[in-house]
């Protein structure tokens, strides 16, 4: 079951590479939130307790509902175009993301030989983190940076599942709240940026340098 969910997660990562529509980004986030919550629930199925239920529910709430809604709100408020116009067609991006996913899976397999970890979630988590990073580095649209950051956070959560870390639920909730406040602040920043850089949500943040 975890395998199916994680394959789907990898598929969303690859779809990220080929799409340019902002609505697909949001849909990917929503989908990933559901998948991540599912993986979490399935992995902790043996010693399932109320705390786990709370965390799984919180993941669904934050990553699937609240944060994508807020991002949609940002897109609407700023009246962004449907496509990411700053992106030039780059066929190698899919190759890079695929390479990253494959490398992450191989890496996690080697890991599992020396430490007791869950191979597939760990590999997918590493893939998610690196793909989010690639997204940030490769795109110039600021919203793409935020989405990449959120994907890194999704990968991070999967990483927690992969290493079977059982953080107390208070801390996990704190993490989610932190994430939400962070996205909230980023949204406000993008809003302000729009007024300073009227054309395409501020891609040229290059005034500050030495």
């Amino acid at each position: 079951m975890t395998n199916a969910l994680t394959i789907l997660f990898c598929l969303t990562l690859m779809y990220l590479a080929v799409t340019t529509r902002l609505s697909s980004y949001v849909l990917i986030l929503v989908f990933q939130g559901i998948l991540v919550s599912g993986v979490y629930t399935v992995s902790f199925f043996e010693n399932f307790s109320a705390a786990h239920l709370v965390i799984a529910g919180a993941v669904l709430l934050f990553r699937t509902i609240l944060i994508p809604t807020y991002i949609v709100k940002i897109i609407r408020d700023l009246d962004m175009e449907h496509r990411d116009q700053t992106r030039r067609y780059h066929p190698g991006f899919l190759l890079q993301i695929s390479g990253v996913i494959i490398a992450a899976l191989l890496f996690s397999y080697q890991f599992s030989r020396i430490t007791p970890v869950l191979v597939i979630p760990l590999g997918t988590a590493l893939a998610g983190i690196c793909s989010g990073g690639l997204l940030i580095v490769r795109r110039r649209l600021l919203l793409a940076h935020v989405i990449g950051f959120l994907i890194i956070e999704n990968g991070l959560f999967l990483l927690g599942v992969g290493v079977k870390a059982d953080l107390p639920w208070v801390i996990e909730l704190g993490t989610f709240l932190d994430l939400f406040v962070l996205i909230f602040l980023m949204g406000i920043a993008i809003n302000h940026l729009k007024s300073h850089f009227p054309e395409g949500a501020g891609e040229d943040l290059t005034t500050l340098h030495d």
């Binding site: 395998n3 199916a4 394959i7 598929l11 066929p91 494959i102 899976l105 599992s112 191979v119």
Partner: protein
């Protein structure tokens, strides 16, 4: 060692498949029409088209050479030969041997090669354009086939198509997901090879947007009939590939197996029809990415399958 099946049902099955291929095409067209709100032509329309074409005169342009005369025959033969390799239900295909998956892939490749040559031979720029597109997409499509069927071969440990199919065991817990994901990959491949949406629009009449149809634009009469039948044979081939991945006869009794094959074919036809109705064609630059996507799905599939042991 090449085994020619001694079972008469295999050969009969082959004849039946060759005869029934246009029916599948007819069903897809009918479903497509229905989804668009039209009544559509009858499901037997492709047969009528084939008969009509057989009776017409074949005209060759003065600037075309012997390839144009040779290609249709070879294309039809290679496709039919490939169908010979397919397992039919309980029975192995008429021809089977270790490594016949490679023969399958390259028979189709040979057909494609000759079709491209024929398109170039006609000396019209439209055909040349279509040929170049076809060649480019073929490059990206080939790995898909090998990654999916190859990974199946790796997993089951057999190398002949019919024994691979026989070796698929549904009781092992990880197989179902593996098979389903492989089927998705082959579905993407089918879309490309059989020139369906969203890679190629079979109904377009604008030459600049055609990929496959434009290559046979100048064919007529008997040659066109051979091309059309070969195309429907190819569609049937890939659909049967997908259904045999599910190995319906390995774990169900024969009657249920037949029913399952029919159901899966119907579902595939419906999917094709739905996609053709609902989606627009991809921009041509996006098609390599689409195919790469399917390849990576295949690679990922095999990796995840290996690592969960």
């Amino acid at each position: 060692m090449v085994t020619f099946s001694s079972n008469p049902f295999s050969w009969l099955g082959f004849v039946g498949l060759a005869a029934g291929a246009p029916l599948l095409t007819g069903i897809v067209n009918k479903l497509k029409a229905r989804l668009s709100g039209r009544l559509g032509a009858s499901v037997l329309q492709p047969y009528f088209d084939l008969v009509r074409l057989a009776r017409k005169e074949t005209i060759y342009s003065r600037s075309s050479g012997f390839i144009t005369r040779l290609a249709p025959v070879i294309v039809w033969n290679t496709t039919a030969f490939a169908v010979l390799l397919l397992p039919v239900g309980l029975f192995p295909g008429p021809i089977s041997f270790d490594g016949d998956i490679i023969l399958l892939a390259y028979l189709l490749g040979l057909g494609r090669f000759l079709q491209i040559l024929a398109a170039l031979d006609v000396a019209s720029s439209f055909e040349g354009m279509g040929a170049s597109r076809e060649a480019r997409f073929a490059v990206f499509a080939e790995p898909i086939f090998f990654f999916t069927i190859g990974s199946l071969a790796l997993v089951t440990g057999r190398f002949s198509l019919e024994s691979i199919v026989a070796g698929i065991m549904w009781d092992k817990p990880l197989f179902p997901i593996f098979i389903i994901v492989s089927s998705i990959s082959i579905f993407f491949l089918m879309i490309t090879e059989c020139s369906r949406m969203p890679v190629d629009d079979p109904n377009t009449h604008l030459e600049l947007t055609m990929i496959h149809e434009v290559m046979i634009l100048d064919a007529s009469g008997f040659d066109l009939m051979l091309y059309q039948h070969a195309a429907s044979l190819k569609l049937l081939l890939y659909s049967l590939l997908v259904t045999s991945l599910l190995n319906p006869f390995g774990w169900l009794n024969p009657a249920a197996g037949v029913a399952l094959v029919v159901v899966v074919l119907a579902v595939l036809a419906a999917c094709l029809a739905a996609i053709e109705t609902l989606m627009a064609r991809f921009r041509l630059v996006l098609v390599p990415q689409f195919l790469l996507y399917a390849t990576v799905i295949g690679v990922l599939n095999i990796l995840i399958f290996t690592f969960s042991h």
